[in-house]
Subunit: 404 residues, 2 copies
């Protein structure tokens, strides 16, 4: 993810300066309030001449749009407003255990044309599922096309350990997939996308969605924990996803929270997942109807909680207690002081929150403040927003790719 080897680093060429400055100027052009060339020059330290030249090239890429004169009402010649062009966007898609989700996000951050389909994907083959996904994607892509949008790239998020550079799924335990090569399918999703379609982990993407479009926008550094069938997570620090040397960072599901606890599917013992995963909570709540899907049983849990069922409430509070321990330990290791919770933790927020706060206070007073515990509001669109956003950032970081 990060630069690996100081020794293998490429040499700096004179042209690199321009590439860097193109991205720098583009970074000062927000989605909304128009910036002017003069303002950008003052903010970046570049001369007005350089900014003019750089902006001219950015206009050529189509990422930036001139809005006409800004009425300042002040003395002097008014500047020409510049803003990101909302007609450029990216596709985001997600395959999860019990739904497919697809959408288009534009450079202003708006989600347009999204569609969520509830399907049971566990056990079905990857090709079958991706074919169904492709049909939804086609509808979204042509809707964007009809509206005059240009898609720069896209992303597909899956609840799996992936190799983004090869477009392969290494292991998706909850889908039952191993070593699936999605590269051919990815290429076809957004025809002619200059920034490609990239495979990503669902929790990582959701974590980034919170950073760019959700509860993390004001935080910058936080741990994202998503409760699904498993317990996944992503680590955002300094407004960047940290995925670790091997790409597994933020995997809080297998932190040991109870040394004398149950054995876990990972081979360990007392992992968070064994006490706060969906199956664990459902079992503790006594909701054991094996015939229906996990999603349906989670709905039943909601109903029990609403009805004030003590066993259900105790089960959720127990999960929150251990969740607190895992968060505290994570916070110590990477020094983050905020958390964003998604998946079923967000759905169960009213019951999770108090128990979680008292657990945090008991095990590490003062480390994570009450205001620093946030619950996701993005629902099933989190991961697709994240991968689409990542595609947009790839474009914003390398605008020169769009020039001849």
């Amino acid at each position: 993810m990060r630069e690996q080897d100081g020794a293998t680093k490429a040499p700096g060429r004179v042209g690199d300066v321009r590439r860097r400055n193109l991205a720098l100027v583009l970074g000062r052009i927000g989605p909304e309030e128009p910036a002017t060339r003069a303002e950008i020059a003052a903010a970046t330290g570049l001369t007005k001449a350089s900014v003019s030249s750089l902006v001219a090239e950015l206009l050529e890429t189509g990422l930036v749009d001139e809005l006409g004169v800004t009425r300042a009402g002040e003395r002097g010649r008014p500047g020409v407003g510049l803003a990101l062009d909302a007609r450029r966007g990216a596709l985001g898609a997600e395959v999860n255990v019990d739904y497919l989700a697809v959408g288009v996000v534009d450079l202003h951050g708006s989600l347009r044309y999204h569609e969520v389909a509830e399907t049971v994907n566990r056990g079905r083959g990857p090709n079958d599922v991706v074919a169904e996904l492709s049909r939804i994607v086609e509808r979204c892509v042509s809707a964007a096309d009809d509206a005059g949008m240009t898609l720069l790239g896209g992303g597909l998020a899956v609840p799996a350990l992936v190799d983004p550079s090869r477009g392969t799924i290494l292991n998706a335990p909850n889908l039952g997939w191993r070593n699936a090569d999605l590269a051919p399918a990815l290429g076809g999703l957004v025809p002619g996308a200059p920034f490609g379609v990239v495979l990503s982990n669902e929790a990582d993407s959701a974590a980034l969605a919170e950073l760019w479009y959700g509860r993390g926008t004001s935080l910058g550094s936080y741990l994202y924990v998503s409760g699904e069938v498993g317990v996944g997570g992503g680590l955002v620090m300094g407004s960047e996803l940290f995925s670790g040397p091997g790409g597994h960072a933020g995997e809080v599901g297998h932190i040991v929270v109870e040394p004398t606890g149950q054995r876990c599917s990972c081979g360990g013992r007392g992992c968070l997942e064994t006490v706060a995963g969906q199956e664990a909570i459902l079992a503790a709540a006594g909701i054991t109807d094996g015939g229906s899907t996990t999603a349906a049983r989670m709905a039943a849990l909601q109903a029990s909680l609403d009805a004030g069922d003590t066993q259900a409430i105790t089960a959720v509070e127990r999960a929150a207690h251990y969740l607190g321990i895992a968060i505290v330990s994570s916070a110590r290791v990477v020094d983050v002081s905020a958390v964003v919770l998604g998946g079923h933790f967000a759905a169960l927020a009213p019951w999770i929150r108090p128990a979680l706060l008292s657990s945090l206070e008991a095990f590490a007073p003062g480390v994570i403040a009450e205001e620093a515990v946030a619950f996701s509001e993005l629902g099933t669109t989190a991961a697709l927003r994240g991968t689409a956003g990542a595609a947009l950032r790839r474009a914003l970081a390398a605008p020169y790719e769009l020039l001849a």
Copy 2:
């Protein structure tokens, strides 16, 4: 530590290219085996002309030395060997609870002129201790001077949370210091050092020493855990220290390893420190003589272990068991797959190792391999080597600072 804000980034100027390439070329010049201009050109992708020009400037800085023709025995004109100049070095110093350590490390990585003084610093004031340290530093600096060495910078490591940019100690619980301003003293340690003298955390510095001069050289990414009066740690990933958004990353001492365990001085419960810190181990081993220093009692523990005392052995194994849990949890969060253990964990290695390995295997089979558990061999010189090394890296990363 890392670049914070994409928006506040400085613009790229043409001269930045040269700065980058100076550091790039310097990075290819190792301490030992001489590199030639032609080899560097091939390795970096720069042209021979550019490399010649860059090397000429590096020679001016004094960091690099020409060794004369390399006898290759092959056809063609032999190249001129280039190597880092071992006459350039940096000072490293450490104030710890029961000793002071000072040394000089040269650009070849050799430790020269080092001195360790056993003194009880707990409770003494910072000024008093630093004055004593300064006398030792003076001896080392003049020894280096006499040998014709030039010191580029230095570092002072303390078992404390520090603000390196201000040169202040925020809190050193085990020394009993709070809000001590060491900036004036630091400035005077290495007169005229172009890269300054920087305050650092002892565990972080020791972690870096392992990376550059110890057990971490072949690892690249690992968790360093140091057992002292407290339990500290440092996180090295991708051959860089990761200190987290607030600078506390790697603080494994307060990971929760036993939810029903004892209260901790941090206000939490069941932290690693409450079961694997020196006092905790001594108490469990029944070595309770309150009159002598902690260091002396740790020596007594060693003696008991050597004598086969079951209570002592059980106490150490229990600590190792919990240490394993903390390592596993850390490994999950940041995705590292190796550990280096220092401080009393290194001293007790023969007793720690087997218990630790079985704990790792029980809680996360396959995550940390047996070969990936290493014990430090740097002893009391670890932290000083680390801070000195950091000063040397500052010079190697910014050689242009040494030019007019």
